[in-house]
């Protein structure tokens, strides 16, 4: 089969890598540079501590990184996972957490040396696990711990009352203020409101710009495939309040617009499009390459599009678009309270993935179907993630609903960060069967 479209690597690819490595390097150098080193989840209000000079060792990407060791350094991998299991943590718990705890218990940082010494833990409990995760870390490390309770909005379709929404906003805002005062007390440092305001603005800019990039993937051919998307989305996860991340996404947006204009494709054979959901099995992204060999491009996922927020609902169009930033709304954040209120509302209104960890049902189905429609999707592949019940919430109902609408849908079981729970051969066999269901034959043989 002839290639239909031209392709080209992203010019900003190396910059993304550099920023990511900088973030990890800074974590390693934080203490030497007199910065606070905070432990917490990426799916938290990581803009809060921007009022201090700090770095955050975010647990989820670190847990994912450990899963790569399964192939690269299996001895170390098994030492780490077995450390968590010997400590008594069952295998069906969040794989990110188990990997992280194992590394902590062993006092082995997989990027070299001892596990970094955290000053305190700051977390947000958006799922059943995360608040407890950092409670355990704090106990092991004997450091202070603060966890905000994030009670998300329900999906728009539920018609939640404005009063309930305001209660949730106020609850989070009050906790943000409380967290700041707490951090000042335990660190003895002064919180810089200007930096916090800028951090909140940056978070909005990063995630909104990322959403705009994702929206460009509605184009045919898609300028990005999901493997690329996952390499870019991670910057928002790791450091959305950072200026270099804001700048990067602006650059990425411009380059993606150019690719759309010039019909530069992610997959030169693009003839069918799918979306996925949940974290992928990080250590085994080859199934995207398998799809490519059928001329199928995975154009995104609710997960990678929206994990860090940035999508606001349009009630007239009943769809989600890139959320408007303070600048776009003509709003000026002048005080700590302004920033806290904006951040709380941003998380509640635009954080659809975190919302989807608490509420599924008709709302989550609507979100996925909206993506099928807007991204012109031919099929859906859902990862039934044994390592994360949060992102798996509602998936079976989503499958039923899509099938009723005649959208080819398949599932495969796996784990986002525990390779022992993923059978690649069987998954490939299922994908091949799914391709047959979609009437697609392999264009070229895929070799790992």
């Amino acid at each position: 089969m002839e290639k239909k479209y031209k392709t080209a690597p992203f010019r900003c690819w190396d910059k993304a890598k550099t920023i990511r490595m900088n973030i990890y390097r800074e974590i390693g150098e934080a203490k030497a540079n007199g910065k606070l080193l905070i432990g917490g989840g990426a799916e938290s209000l990581i803009a809060i501590p921007t009022g201090f000079d700090h770095n955050i060792l975010v647990g989820e990407p670190y847990g994912a990184s450990i899963s790569y060791l399964y192939r690269e350094n299996p001895d170390l991998y098994f030492q780490i996972v077995e450390a968590a299991e010997h400590a008594g943590y069952p295998r069906d718990l969040c794989a990110y957490m188990r990997n992280y705890l194992g590394s902590l218990i062993l006092d082995k940082y997989i990027f070299g040396g001892h596990f970094p010494k955290l000053d305190f833990c700051l977390q947000a409990g958006f799922c059943d696990t995360h608040s407890k995760w950092y409670q355990i870390v704090s106990e092991i490390e004997k450091i202070p711990y603060f966890s905000l309770d994030l009670v998300p909005f329900d999906w728009e379709i539920s018609g939640e009352s404005e009063k309930t929404k305001q209660l949730k906003r106020d609850y989070i805002v009050n906790q943000i203020h409380e967290a700041i005062v707490w951090m000042e007390k335990i660190t003895g440092r002064t919180f810089d409101d200007e930096k916090f305001i800028q951090g909140v603005i940056n978070e909005s800019e990063s995630t909104s710009t990322w959403a705009k990039v994702c929206m460009l993937n509605r184009a045919i051919p898609a300028p990005l495939d999901e493997k690329t998307i996952l390499s870019f989305y991670i910057l928002a996860v790791l450091g959305r309040p950072r200026q270099d991340v804001v700048d990067f996404y602006r650059e990425l947006l411009a380059e993606t617009e150019e690719r759309v204009e010039n019909q530069i494709a992610a997959n030169p054979y693009e003839r069918a499009r799918v979306i996925t959901d949940s974290q992928p099995p990080w250590f085994a992204l080859d199934f995207f390459r398998l799809l490519e060999s059928y001329g199928v491009v995975s154009v995104g996922a609710h997960y990678s599009f929206g994990l860090s927020g940035g999508w606001e609902y349009d009630p007239e169009e009943k769809t989600w678009n890139a959320a408007k930033t303070p600048k776009e709304r003509g709003v000026e954040l002048k005080t700590r309270d302004d920033a806290a209120r904006w951040l709380a509302n941003w998380w509640l209104s635009t954080g659809t993935v975190c919302r989807g960890v608490r509420h599924s049902g008709a709302g989550k189905i609507q979100r996925v179907k909206d993506m099928v429609d807007k991204w012109q999707v031919d099929g859906v592949i859902l990862h039934l993630n044994r390592g994360c019940e949060g992102t798996s919430l509602g998936q079976m109902d989503i499958v039923s609903s899509l099938l009723k609408d005649g959208v080819p849908t398949m599932t495969f079981e796996g784990n986002h960060a525990d390779p022992r729970e993923y059978d690649e051969k069987r998954t490939f066999a299922r994908i091949e069967s799914f391709m047959e269901t979609m009437g697609l034959k392999q264009i070229y043989e895929f070799k790992k």
Binding site: L384, M396, L403, P408, T411, E413, E421, S433, E436, T437
Partner: protein, 257 residues
Amino acid sequence: MIALGYDLGSTYTKVVILKDGKVIGKGIAKTTLDPEESVEKARQAALQDAHIEGKQIDRVGVTGSGRKLIKNADVDTTDVSAAAAGVNYYSKDFKTLIDVGGEEARAVKVSADGKVVNFAVNDKCAAGAGAFVEAMARAMQLSLEEFAESSLASTKKIPINAQCAIFAESEVVSLISDETKREDICRAVHDGISERLTSMARRVGIEDRVALIGGAVMNKGLVKAIKDALEMDVTVLPDPLFVSAVGIAVLAAKAEG
């Protein structure tokens, strides 16, 4: 037109030969560590059964987990598509198929023209079908046939875990030591597996008529349990081990030259 269909499974290698759309020969061999030898053995058995020579074969289709072994087949599909085509060969009225193998089970929604509408495969927590029955039969020191017959004699339903084969095995061990009647234990094992199969089949939506294929459905006790769990009649296809091979032979015959 003579078409040959290979189904290269992990336990058995099956071959079916069709002539003008009718099955004229079948062959089977255990899949060994020398799969090429198994393929040749099964092929020769099928040719003998069909009373033809290899050079008379016009089209070749291949399916099964080992299908990459056969190069230059006219048609190469996964066993999901082959199974759908296979049940359609027997009747266009089959809308749902449940394929119960030794290690894996699947449910497929089939269109009137034998295409796959939707499919589901058993996931980790419901792993094992035929292999589990075999293990339990060994634990109770019965042959598979005795195990099946015994279950049919049971008059008491004992619920056992339908989620986890390991937990289920523990429960069976408990039942044995509690001196529960043998036939009731045999039935409980079948009931447990059939609950898992039915759960899986519900994912694709169960629509009449339902066809059962795969080696494990030669067990009458399991078939009865599946019927009871589905609360509807089911049809065990003739030579249920060969249905996917039939299907891929049908697809090979239909393929454009």
